[in-house]
């Protein structure tokens, strides 16, 4: 099976990424709405479901704080994934068209690297934010994921490889 062009593996992966992108977008909308509702419900006990959030040993406001921090965490993760998947879709669209060294792919790969770094940083930020929560609801300390940072560096290097590829393509186009 071919790797590039219509009907290739890239084309199949582009379709998968399209589906994932839609799912992430829907999740982002639901989480944003949920977060907004949670903030309002935390301060207004008369709203529907406002009194139903309970955790052992926590009062109503503390319980809502736990829920809101978890929703915010999920929102930040989904936003990061959405950014990465969105740029991967654009990259795979060029692969599907059989044009891997499209000049825009360099910036897209850089954004993917930033997105991966963002996802890793969110893990640490959540842990720091967890210090504000009651001890029984605080998240565990995250491990330093060398694989994640290695991936970030690999994508940064790949972006440079694509930049060189785009330059060579341009040179080739202007060689008569």
């Amino acid at each position: 099976m071919r790797a590039l062009g219509p009907g290739s593996i890239s084309s199949f992966l582009k379709s998968v990424l399209d589906i994932v992108w839609v799912l992430l977008l829907v999740s982002l909308v639901i989480l944003s709405a949920g977060l907004l509702y949670g903030v309002l419900a935390a301060f207004n006990p008369d709203m529907p479901f406002a009194g139903r959030i309970r955790f052992d040993g926590l009062d109503r406001l503390q319980a809502w704080a736990v829920v809101l921090v978890r929703m915010l965490t999920a929102l930040l993760f989904v936003a990061g994934f959405l950014l990465v998947v969105s740029r991967l879709r654009d990259i795979f669209a060029t692969l599907k068209a059989g044009d891997p060294f499209h000049p825009e792919n360099v910036n897209r790969l850089r954004v993917v690297a930033l997105g991966l770094a963002w996802l890793e940083l969110v893990r640490y930020a959540v842990w720091v934010l967890g210090a504000l929560l009651p001890p029984q609801a605080a998240p565990d300390r995250p491990n330093l994921s060398l694989a994640a940072w290695f991936s970030v560096l690999v994508v940064v290097v790949l972006a440079e490889v694509f930049r060189e590829g785009a330059r060579l393509r341009r040179e080739s186009e202007l060689t008569i």
């Binding site: 341009r170 040179e171 202007l174 060689t175 008569i176």
Partner: protein, 73 residues
């Protein structure tokens, strides 16, 4: 780039159009236009050979060199 292709002058001297040259050499008219406009980054020996053959000239007649103008200020 200080290297210039003197295609305009040679075409006028040979009373040949760009389309005709493209037809004779097998180099596309688009590529010849890029060459003529001085936008090409490199020239293949095979292209140079075809141009020299059809224009009945030497590579030196086709290529010219002008020093870059020094930066102002």
């Amino acid at each position: 780039m200080p290297v210039r292709i003197q295609l305009d002058r040679l075409l006028v001297e040979r009373r040949m159009s760009l389309a005709e040259l493209a037809d004779r050499t097998g180099v596309s008219a688009d590529n010849l236009a890029i060459l003529k406009a001085g936008e090409a980054r490199a020239l293949r020996f095979s292209t140079l050979d075809a141009l020299c053959r059809e224009l009945d000239c030497h590579p030196g007649d086709l290529l010219g060199w002008e020093p870059d103008s020094p930066p102002v200020g």
